[in-house]
């Protein structure tokens, strides 16, 4: 195996960061990282798109599928009860992880996109009228723009956009000016996927609530990087995906306050979401089941529960501190290269580093870095309005997880030197 070469790791800057010995031990939990790409050790720096699963999560999936699988909430038989207990047990782990008051406020979805669409349908379609307004921001991923545009086109609601400044921070004075008596919802990302900006959502929620407006947070990029307490934030909805939190794809969470979820219309009709069905009348099930029609991805939900256990054991604060060290090191190293522009320089950032190389298209950067074994994302990151704001078609983006090393950042920087030499 190609050891990631941890020797160069400097003394952690953040006091509660993981030690290099911790990282080496934890990194061994991720078998996928032990491979070469194009003859070079893989440096996986595309964690904002999807992170990798550690062995305990993989083991949990295998154990469920080999010894515990049956359909849930159905049978009186042994396996159905085991599967149901594991599935509902995972819901409780997630409830604790985000400090939701009750487990029935934790809805399984297919992912963040699905969670936002659920709210668009269940809340937006049910409660908004022509002329009502929804506030979103310039930093949104397409998944927190397009559903609201669909609602706009369907119902004639209006979208108001919070602008961002040149550092990629939302302009809060402008935000406060967007409210009026037609404002019915604010839907904003916790962390920008394209720039890494951490938005001051707690303060923004207080502003909205003072005017009686509910607040949805797209937490897809925040949940792996920081402690999230939905009661402390007092958000009305919080959406995230498992696969960015070291869990499987195909599963995500909508947290919603029970007072909203109970009033909202179901998202999909089918089995499990009903109490009784006749051809005259159907009575919907209680939350969370009202929003979970059909057989869910049971293994994936249980896998998310295992991922939450894994992250909790390491400690989300230690993860956050280690990633801040990596971000600071990568930012500093990148600034030594001429012709590199870092896009997104907010004071408060998660471990996302978006950049352009002067005279070289991000796609060429990505292809050449791949030859060096370095995996980065290139393109508009499903956030075209962000790209438009900065007047660029695309960026390359390196995004770090706690299992990344200083040596991998050095590999990235060496790759960028090669890019500049080729195109020089």
């Amino acid at each position: 195996m190609n050891s990631p070469g941890l020797a160069r790791r400097e003394t952690p800057v953040q006091t509660n960061a993981l030690s290099s010995a911790d990282i080496e031990r934890l990194r061994a939990d991720f078998p996928i990282l032990r491979q070469t790409v194009n003859g070079k050790p893989l440096a996986f720096l595309d964690n904002a798109a999807s992170s990798q699963m550690p062995q305990p999560v993989l083991d949990r999936l295998i154990r469920y599928q080999t010894t515990e699988h049956a359909n849930i909430h159905r049978g009186v038989h042994y396996l159905s009860e085991v599967a149901t207990a594991a599935y509902e047990g995972a819901r409780e782990k997630i409830q604790k992880f985000i400090n939701a008051p009750e487990s029935r406020e934790v809805i399984y979805t297919r992912g963040t996109t699905d969670a936002i669409n659920l709210v668009m349908h269940g809340f937006g379609r049910a409660f908004l009228r022509e002329g009502d307004e929804i506030i979103i921001s310039q930093l949104e991923h397409h998944s927190n723009i397009v559903p609201w545009q669909m609602l706009r086109d369907e119902k004639g609601v209006r979208l108001r956009i919070i602008p961002c400044n040149d550092r990629g921070e939302l302009v809060l004075e402008e935000y406060e000016r967007l409210f009026n008596d037609r404002t019915k919802l604010v839907a904003v990302t916790h962390v920008s996927n394209a720039l890494g900006t951490v938005n001051p959502v707690k303060r923004m929620i207080a502003t909205a609530h003072a005017l009686g407006v509910p607040f949805l947070i797209d937490g897809a990029q925040a949940i792996p990087h920081m402690s999230v307490d939905v009661q402390d934030l007092d958000c009305d909805f919080y959406c995230f995906s498992a696969h960015k939190l070291y869990g499987p794809t195909g599963i995500g969470i909508l947290y919603g306050k029970a007072k909203w979820l109970e009033k909202m219309q179901p998202y999909q009709g089918g089995g499990d979401m009903i109490l009784s069905v006749s051809f005259d009348k159907t009575v919907y099930n209680v939350i969370p089941h009202k929003f979970e029609a059909g057989t869910p991805p049971i293994a994936a939900a249980i896998g998310l529960g295992a991922a939450v256990d894994y992250v909790t054991e390491i400690g989300i604060d230690a993860i956050a501190a280690s990633e801040q060290d990596l971000l600071a090191y990568a930012t500093k190293e990148m600034q030594t290269l001429p012709g590199i522009r870092i896009v997104g320089t907010a004071a408060d950032k998660a471990s996302v580093l978006s950049f352009t190389v002067s005279g070289v298209h991000p796609h060429d950067v990505g292809t050449i870095l791949n030859e060096e074994g370095v995996a980065v994302r290139t393109g508009h990151h499903c956030a075209q309005p962000v790209m438009q704001r900065f007047g660029i078609p695309a960026t390359a983006r390196a995004s770090f997880a706690f299992y990344n090393t200083y040596a991998e950042i050095d590999q990235l920087i060496a790759g960028l030197r090669r890019v500049q030499k080729m195109f020089g």
């Binding site: 298209h361 796609h363 508009h380 078609p393």
Partner: protein
């Protein structure tokens, strides 16, 4: 494949100094090509005299592979008949997607420097976009896209009657 093989000197040179860059003020045909997945966008303008390509130019915002492909395309089709250029479009597409029949003669010449993209699925569309845009311009389609309904890859190739049997 190694990117050294793909990013050969000729590609880097055409990227740095694209030939026939700009737009023809007296163009008879134009089309825009977009790759919505990566943001590549190019414009091709043509001046046709009967079936002959008298003038061709392009401009846009695109990666090195797309820019060099467009630049080399213009130098290769200038002065050719529409039929010969369309044959080249077809051969280039087959090469980039790894479907070129090596046993058959082709007119690709130095364009074979792009053969390496067949091993980089995410970059195939970068190389092909200019050729699709040229094809769209011939047929007076305003826009060529690598995605959706406008994807020429998804449509049966428009072939001149003369080689319909090929």
């Amino acid at each position: 494949m190694d990117s050294k093989q793909l990013y050969q000197e000729i590609i880097l040179d055409h990227n740095k100094k694209p030939r026939n860059w700009g737009t023809l003020s007296d163009a008879s045909h134009r089309a825009e090509g977009v790759n919505p997945l990566c943001g590549d966008r190019i414009w091709v303008s043509l001046r046709l005299n009967g079936r002959n390509i008298e003038g061709v130019a392009f401009e846009g915002e695109s990666c090195a592979i797309c820019t060099a492909s467009a630049s080399m395309m213009t130098t290769n089709v200038k002065g050719k008949s529409i039929e010969d250029a369309e044959a080249l479009v077809r051969q280039f597409r087959e090469m980039a997607t790894g479907k070129l029949d090596a046993a058959k003669p082709n007119q690709l010449g130095r364009l074979t420097v792009f053969a390496g993209v067949k091993d980089l699925p995410s970059r195939v569309k970068c190389a092909i976009l200019p050729w699709h845009t040229l094809h769209a311009a011939f047929h007076n389609e305003q826009i060529a896209s690598t995605e959706g309904d406008a994807d020429p890859m998804g449509l049966p190739p428009v072939r001149p009657a003369s080689d319909a049997a090929v």
